[in-house]
């Protein structure tokens, strides 16, 4: 006989299952004693699946429903779990790991707040096409949808910011889902994949085997990334190149993802075309190469934007003509025919109309293009390259560039970035934060190698640098890993100092302290007519902070001290920090106000050099202009 109660559905099988699950949650029962042979459970299958995919590091943080996994981690010693101090850092660290190595990054959190803390890092990876597998625990099956303790509809939250996501309710599904998640994360246009696993699935016994790649692909009939470009389009591209007088290559992240740097250079050499790059395209070519022309866009080099505006052919490869790159589309490269090569068909025709669209992987398309490319005799482009060289000289003769590092008694940020990079012969991995520091890194980092520049481009996530540099340091132990962060962004994730000290992760931190939300101050100066608000930023005594966390630190306020501090930080065994007290009011120039065109750069160079004084620079931009958007 069932008893009527105040719980809806009381006495039904569903209600008793929920009741059982609730009791289990409270008990948090260990499944079996470790001594003695214990059965294989879902959590074991998860560890095996990750290892089988070639990943050996998980960035994570425990909590109630994910504890069954922590209970078996000790039985999978090849898998290194790094305990972070906040789940946001776990997702950024996995992201940095992936960007620096090209492998899939893995991060982990518990249900509810653990999962929501991962969200910023998932969004960051999504907008920058970074392969992540994000694992979260969820409450037992019977409690799903009941607002149980720490239950949140996390797959509902991550749906629009993942390449795909899963809710796994049974241990038997785990091997297949994890293999599929890795496959989706790294193939085609990469991106984050989220796998939410209920506690029952982690704890359930299973004998399910791991699928082969062929089996995974067979299970995905709706997923067939198109790698090869259409031969007819590629032939048209070869013809367009042969006929162009002022061609410019716009290289983006897709070139790095496809590992097509060599093919890119071959094309540029064969057809004698200058290479420019987007923020995430930095590293596609050694910046000292004669064909490397520079960084484009909102804070890009003026000479680069000029070249784009005067081009007759733009060849966009693995980039998406986003608004930071084009400015106002109507005035973008008015004389150019636009070729757009991208693996994602939805990118083509989204932001600009492509005159010649090619859907395909950058490497495949370039491989097919190279044999069709007519060699161009450099002497036929002498005038073009001479003009480009003049423009470059002009923009490099600006008051800030190569300023010798000293202005009005303070350190200039561009100088610091350049010396930090030079300290490792331009071979270190530099991870930028967001704001002015990010633009200085992009402009003055002097990159010579693929994947040596890490930056949150699409989402512009402050707090990215330290955790991502931590990921890069673990992924590529042979290279120095610098986090170059503003005082604002650093204060968003500085809790990870404890992680790098505990785990002995040798991240070197260059703290660019202008005691301001610098980029906000710059916008308020230029766009909002000097109406400053909330840009003054107090910070702690960073030497004391580092002492408390237990890592060596130096404070530098004079240009002549920079090199010695960089050398000392590099010589330190393990993590270290340099506190650079940089100019408080230095602006990043040139600047294209949002909504304006690439020819409308605000540029104080070569005037009186008085860029540090507030409130006097450039035309005022209308903040009510809907195209103007907000600060970065």
């Amino acid at each position: 006989m069932t008893q009527a109660g105040h719980v809806p559905g009381a006495g039904t099988p569903a209600a008793s299952a929920a009741e059982r699950a609730r009791r289990d949650m409270l008990r948090d029962a260990r499944i079996t004693a470790r001594d003695g042979v214990r059965p294989r459970i879902g959590a074991d299958a998860l560890c095996e699946a990750i290892l089988l995919q070639g990943s050996d590091t998980i960035w994570g943080y425990p909590g109630g429903v994910i504890l069954p996994l922590y209970d078996v981690l000790v039985d999978h010693p090849e898998l290194r779990h790094i305990l972070v101090r906040h789940e946001q850092a776990a997702s950024h660290a996995a992201d940095g790991y992936a960007r620096a190595s090209g492998n899939v990054g893995v991060c982990l959190g518990t249900s509810g707040p653990g999962a929501t803390n991962l969200v910023t890092g998932i969004g960051t990876a999504m907008l920058d096409s970074v392969p992540l597998v994000v694992i979260t625990g969820n409450v037992p099956n019977a409690l799903i949808g009941k607002d149980a303790f720490q239950e949140i509809d996390i797959t509902g939250i991550t749906l629009p910011m993942t390449k795909h996501n899963y809710l796994v309710r049974s241990a038997d599904e785990i091997p297949h889902v994890i293999a599929e998640a890795f496959h989706l994360a790294r193939s085609g246009r990469p991106g984050p994949v989220h796998v939410d696993i209920t506690k029952d699935a982690l704890m359930g016994q299973t004998t399910a085997t791991h699928p082969s790649v062929a089996e995974v692909e067979a299970g995905l009939p709706g997923y067939k990334p198109k790698l090869d470009g259409h031969p007819r389009q590629i032939k048209l591209l070869a013809e367009a190149i042969a006929g162009a007088k002022r061609p410019v290559i716009l290289a983006g992240h897709g070139v790095l993802i496809a590992r097509a740097e060599r093919e890119l250079l071959e094309l540029a050499r064969a057809a004698h075309i200058p290479i420019t790059w987007t923020l995430l395209g930095i590293g596609v070519i050694d910046e000292t190469d004669p064909l490397a022309y520079g960084y484009m866009g909102m804070h890009g080099w003026k000479h680069v934007n000029r070249a784009i505006q005067s081009a007759d052919l733009l060849i966009g490869i693995g980039m998406r003509f986003d608004d930071r790159v084009t400015g106002n589309v109507r005035t973008y490269a008015p004389k150019a025919k636009i070729v757009h090569i991208d693996i994602d068909p939805a990118e083509i025709g989204k932001n600009v109309v492509a005159d010649l669209p090619i859907v395909g992987d950058a490497k495949h398309v370039l491989d097919a293009l190279l044999p069709l490319t007519t060699k161009v005799d450099p002497t036929t482009r002498v005038d073009y390259f001479a003009e480009l060289a003049t423009w470059r000289t002009e923009s490099e003769a600006s008051s800030w560039h190569g300023s010798g590092g000293f202005r009005d008694g303070v350190l200039s940020a561009d100088f610091v970035v350049e010396r930090v990079a030079a300290g490792s012969n331009f071979d270190a991995n530099l991870t930028a934060d967001v704001g002015q520091n990010q633009m200085w890194v992009a402009r003055y980092g002097g990159f010579r190698r693929a994947n040596s520049h890490l930056s949150s481009g699409g989402l512009g996530t402050m707090g990215f640098a330290l955790p991502a540099a931590m990921g890069a340091a673990v992924a590529v132990p042979g290279k120095v890993s610098w986090a170059i962060a503003g005082d604002g962004g650093f204060q968003m994730t500085l809790q990870e100092l404890a992680t790098i000290v505990q785990e002995r992760i040798p991240v070197k931190i260059a703290l660019m302290d202008n005691k301001k939300l610098g980029m906000i101050r710059q916008w308020q100066e230029i766009v909002y007519g000097g109406n400053y608000h909330s840009e003054e930023l107090a910070g702690p005594d960073y030497l004391k902070l580092c002492e408390a966390y237990g890592l060596p630190a130096w404070k530098v306020a004079k240009p002549e001290e920079v090199d010695a501090a960089v050398a000392a930080a590099l010589a330190a065994d393990g993590p270290a920090l340099i506190w650079f007290e940089i100019a408080e009011r230095q602006n990043v120039y040139p600047m294209m106000p949002a909504g304006k065109g690439l020819s409308d750069l605000i540029d104080k160079w070569g005037d009186d050099g008085e860029d540090i004084t507030e409130g006097d620079s450039g035309p005022r931009v209308d903040p009510t202009d809907p195209q103007s958007g907000g600060a970065r």
């Binding site: 749906l159 795909h164 989706l184 009939p221 994602d344």
Partner: protein, 183 residues
Amino acid sequence: MSTGSTARSLPGSGEERRHLIVAIVNNKPGVLNRVASLMRARNFNIESLAVSVTERSDTSRMTLTIVGDEVHVEQAAKQLYKLIDVLKVQDVTDESIVEHEFALIKVRATKRTRPEIVSVAEMHRSKVVDLGDEAVIVEAVGEPTEIDTLVELLREFGIKELVRTGSVVMSRGSGSIEEQVKR
């Protein structure tokens, strides 16, 4: 200095019209949510949506109507196709198709108006499926414009309730969208 000679045209500035999109998707929980979420996030307005299982129990078919210019709708189709659970997307607007919609219309009725309502329904290839003292239910099948006309005529009597399924479409001849799904 933005006085460019020739202004570059923006994608999606062409003429707007109604498009019919067919999507073949995996028949799994949550797929409808993925489609709806994507359309919302990317600012595509779905005018109507009809979903049902196909000949194969593991796939469903969605028919969406979207208003927009060619580029806008093509972008919607491409974004849809990026969903892992979407197997095939086709804009069938300009193809030779049968497009039909189904509607139930509950019309206010009196002894006097009932025969009139019945004859209006019959003139429009519709039938009366429920005959009450104060209301009748008219069932209509046809092209959306035909249903619009019928609804307009019935409005005179007073409509108490109206439900429409949104269009479903099928190409004429022997071609089959479902058979084109590569597995």
